[in-house]
């Protein structure tokens, strides 16, 4: 077995792209060895597949082959617990159903958890399969390796028929039920507990033999004028736990046929109630008394058992005239007594010697219509009544055999014995040895068999049978006899007494087992929670400078047993999982067991945030890393923003640093080739920013382009751009009208106006040296309009298109061509 595992691992490693998530080895009596593997694509772990590997049956053949390969699709498969070590895996579109058996509970549960986890991941991440189109294998390129070996669906079906010991075809409607209830692992667990309890019933139940006395009598419309205790043998010493009495022909009037219930049943109820409650010191409670025309059933239980009776049910079905009227039929009384379910059935079947097949049919119909066959909960069935099966001997031979006391000879010709032996009726039922004479047909008031003209052949019409449905054994028949002393009817009453092994739950043992099961499941469930080890929960960034991203990395290692899906989530009352100056890559993902993922956390303060951080430069945040279906981890981020002149708001005058930059560029850079067109050196640009912040001179060897970039960058960092946000739209709209543009400038706050004017004057100087510095009005307009005219944050993104860019450049150009000098006051006067 180890060898197979190794081979499978080699197999899987060949592709490098997928990872084994769970495996389960099956070993059946056939020696066929199958390995179930759940695999996922390393690069996109929500792409999962199930692979069944099979080892060749021949011992010398060590090869393994892929038996089936199946990609998991949304809502595609389900699980059902069969027993403590068995579960079924089934697919929606396919009729294949895989039955797996595991060697230990924990192996089984780890596989089930991996599978239910896979269901969750697949259901959230994989698009549902279109009904008509086939599954798109193109997106699952990693799977090609396997699909070469198998045509997924065809192969499945082919294998289904081949390997019957582990795959079965489930019927379609049953499968639908299952699909609807597999979704939660909670349901699976409950299922498993129930199955476990069922399997381990012996550990917490004991069998207690309870006494059932059952009587049946065709009374031929007569009513006795006395109690019937001798028939039912009711006395102090033999007080039974349950008495069930079935009568036939209590009322054969036409009226009874219409109403089903008549007053006669009340008389019988009284007689039998009085009988059971007057002959012993015990109190009996009537569970049920029902009438169907001539058929009548009454059941009593000893009062002490009453609180242990549950789920009392009764069916009444007629199979008489037209196959439905109640002159023939059955009444059932079904109930759960402690933990065993008993079904008591009394019936009157079709009459006459030639009616055998009709009687067989009556039995089949009644079994079905009273749901006796299809109710799996029933443990014991007692079926009694005038079943009407006759003796096939001639009348003379029958009477002779009766005289000779040759009961076995009679029974050899009993229709019921013959039909039952040939499995045509009462299949699975048992009947005790008959030691009494036929119960039918007597001259009323005598013990003499029919002397009338009809001269009916004596027969064993009245019978009591039982069925131990789950074959637990232990039913004991104490007696089975006929009572000659009752002479009012043409039938004699029959009675039988049974010791029935009723299952009783021992509460202490049951509680203990239940607690153990729950404890085990809790443990398994907790062990299967997603778990992640973080390399650190404290990300310290120290100082962060303007526009200089700083990165910290942390490693998430999946130390749990299941695929772990994580996501950073917002704190209460916040919309985003992190502050605006933090970037997390990736913000969510899936990590397979024993694999790791690096999370990059970047702190960057740009022009959008620099200003607000000036007063409160702490860069502190708590990140919440949430594991789906599991715990949260907090990650503390600490840092401090190095406050800079970059990002300031203009208030009074042209900022000092701008003077410095322009002055420097005017002195040393105005003739530099490609001024404002070549990029600076990033580190120098940062250095210049630091020197501006600390009023230090620039380095001697600093590049002109670095200073030029620092200059543009400063303009870009301004909290409110040179042309303030609130004038942005107007600037765009008036850009083609030079006069309007000039007019707009006059409205700017003084600091903005002065700075704008100062920058424009400088750019006009730059253009004067375009021969040396290669500048053109168009390029300068594009470069500077971008930083001078910035759209407000809430400005519709769609409008910031190329038209805007052109308009912005045009706006700035008006001021770069004008050679005369303005002052704000002059303009205002104009």
């Amino acid at each position: 077995m180890k060898r197979i595992k190794q081979q499978v691992e080699t197999y899987l490693n060949t592709t490098e792209e997928c990872k084994l998530l769970a495996e389960l080895i099956l070993q059946k009596e056939t020696k066929a060895k199958v390995l179930l593997c759940l695999v996922a694509n390393r690069r996109s772990p929500h792409e999962m597949a199930l692979i069944l590997f099979e080892k060749a049956k021949e011992e010398y053949d060590t090869a393994i082959r892929i038996m089936s390969f199946r990609l998991l699709k949304k809502d595609d498969f389900g699980l059902k617990i069969v027993s403590e070590l068995q579960f079924d895996l089934f697919f929606k579109e396919n009729t294949a159903l895989f039955s797996f058996e595991s060697t230990s509970v924990s192996t089984m549960w780890s596989v089930i958890n991996a599978l239910t986890n896979a269901v969750k991941v697949v259901n959230t991440h994989v698009a549902p399969n279109q009904e008509d189109t086939d599954f798109d294998f193109d997106t699952y390129t990693w799977a090609e390796f396997y699909t070469k070996y198998t045509e997924p669906d065809q192969n499945l079906e082919k294998e289904t028929s081949k390997a019957e010991q582990r795959m079965m075809i489930s019927d379609n409607d049953k499968k639908q039920d299952q699909t609807s209830d597999f979704r939660t692992s909670v349901a699976i667990k409950e299922d498993w507990i129930a199955k476990q309890l069922q399997n381990k019933e012996d550990q917490f139940t004991e069998k207690r033999p309870l006494t059932f006395v059952i009587g049946t009598w065709n009374v031929n419309s007569k009513i006795p004028n006395h109690l019937v205790s001798s028939w039912l043998r009711i006395n102090e010493d033999e007080a039974a736990d349950v008495y069930a009495v079935g009568l036939q022909e209590i009322d054969m009037t036409a009226g009874a046929l219409l109403t089903q219930e008549t007053k006669i049943s009340d008389q019988w109820t009284k007689i039998i109630t009085d009988t059971v409650n007057s002959c012993t010191s015990h109190k009996y409670v009537c569970l049920l008394s029902k009438q169907l025309v001539g058929i009548y059933l009454i059941v009593f239980i000893k009062e002490e058992h009453l609180e242990h009776v549950q789920d009392l049910k009764s069916h009444i079905e007629g199979v008489g005239i037209m196959g439905m009227l109640g002159n023939k039929g059955a009444i059932t009384c079904q109930f759960k007594l402690y933990s065993s379910t008993v079904c008591l059935v009394t019936s009157h079947l079709a009459a006459h010697t030639g009616g055998t097949s009709k009687r067989n049919q009556n039995f089949a119909d009644l079994s079905q219509r009273c749901h006796i066959d299809d109710d799996e909960s029933i443990d014991f069935i007692f079926w009694f009544g005038d079943l009407n099966y006759r003796l096939t001997l001639s009348d003379a031979d029958t009477r002779q055999a009766i005289c000779d006391n040759q009961i076995s000879h009679l029974l050899a010709h009993d229709q019921l014995v013959i039909e039952k032996k040939n499995n045509r009726v009462f299949v699975g039922y048992e009947e005790g040895t008959i030691t009494f004479m036929p119960s039918y047909k007597f001259d009323a008031g005598t013990n003499i068999y029919d002397t009338s003209e009809k001269k009916r052949t004596p027969s064993y019409t009245d019978r009591i049978l039982w069925k131990d449905v789950h074959k637990v054994g232990g039913i004991q028949q104490l007696y089975y006899s006929m009572h000659n002393t009752f002479m009012i009817s043409d039938h004699k009453p029959i009675v039988s007494c049974f010791k029935v092994p009723i299952k009783i739950i021992v509460q202490d043992k049951y509680k203990q087992l239940y607690r153990e099961l729950i404890k085990m499941l809790d443990k398994l469930e907790n062990d299967m929670l997603p778990e992640i080890q973080l390399s650190t929960q404290m990300l310290q960034f120290d100082t962060v400078e303007y526009n200089s991203p700083k990165v910290c990395e942390m490693t998430l290692e999946n130390t749990g047993q299941v695929v772990c899906e994580f996501i950073f989530v917002p704190k209460p009352g916040e919309d985003y999982p992190h502050k605006p100056w933090i970037k997390i890559e990736p913000i969510g993902g899936i990590i397979m067991p024993h694999e790791s993922m690096v999370i990059k956390v970047t702190l960057k303060v740009d022009s959008h945030m620099a200003h607000q951080l000036m007063d409160q430069p702490d860069l502190d945040d708590i990140l919440i890393l949430h594991l789906k279906q599991g715990r949260d981890h907090f990650i503390t981020v600490t840092g401090k923003y190095q406050v800079s002149v970059y990002g300031i708001a203009l208030d009074q005058q042209v900022p000092e640093c701008l003077w410095r930059l322009v002055d420097w560029l005017y002195r040393y850079g105005i003739k530099e080739a490609d001024l404002f067109q070549e990029a600076g050196i990033t580190e120098q640009v940062h250095q210049i920013r630091r020197q501006l912040d600390h009023h230090l001179p620039f380095d001697d060897n600093v590049s002109v382009h670095s200073v030029a970039e620092a200059f543009v960058g400063f303009l870009e960092s301004l909290y409110d751009p040179l042309i303030p946000h609130r004038y942005y739209r107007m600037s765009i709209e008036t850009s083609s009208n030079a006069g309007a543009c000039v007019h707009l400038i006059t409205k700017l706050p003084k600091a903005h106006f002065d700075t704008f004017h100062y920058v424009m004057a400088f750019l006009r100087e730059v253009l004067k040296h375009s021969n040396e510095n290669h500048s053109s009005i168009d390029t300068l307009a594009i470069i500077f309009s971008r930083v001078i005219l910035r759209p407000p944050l809430n400005y519709p993104q769609l409008q910031a298109n190329s038209n805007d860019l052109r308009a912005k450049a045009l706006f700035v150009k008006h001021f770069m061509t004008q050679s005369h000098h303005w002052t704000r006051e002059e303009l205002v006067q104009e």
């Binding site: 996109s44 994989v126 239940y514 929670l529 996501i567 919309d575 970037k583 913000i587 899936i590 981890h633």
Partner: protein
Amino acid sequence: MNDINPSAKPVSFKLVLLGESAVGKSSLVLRFVRGQFFEYQESTIGAAFLTQTVPLGDAVIKFEIWDTAGQERYKSLAPMYYRGAAAAIVVYDITNYDSFLRAKQWVKELQRQGNTNIVIALAGNKSDLSDKRKVDFSEASAYAEDNGILFLETSAKTAQNVNEIFVAIARKLPKDRPITDKNEIDNIIIPKVGDTRAEKPGKGCC
């Protein structure tokens, strides 16, 4: 009848533990769920999650336990965990009077902002260290009574009253409540669509 009803379906309840750092919240949970105790229990930075089922007479209660971080700096995150909780255990350390004061604040916050019918239990933990006791049993008991909450002194170390406090809570929970969807623990706010700051997570996520 005090029998276990085999047909009773487990009813899930969210339970949250609150209290100052190092009073023994995680230890109480680990004692209850796994029957373990560690003298040096790592500090919880986050919110740990475990489940435990308690069979009661006629019902089966399944606790979904959120064990929160006690450090003060995570205080603002606590609502994430007590929001929607059916029960809370507020823990203090009987050898630390400040932790008792902090516990009272938690009770107040829960009563003001927690679920209307939240079942609150006050646990005076570390009862095994009674020689260093700083919080009188009678004081805590009177406080609990005044506020209509459960109170027990517990010891995660000796297991004293640990099961008892969970069972006491279980008994006070409404049994007819529908089963909480397991997904409730994933009831989180996903970054808004179109949030350009939030990096697009890996393929197919969200």
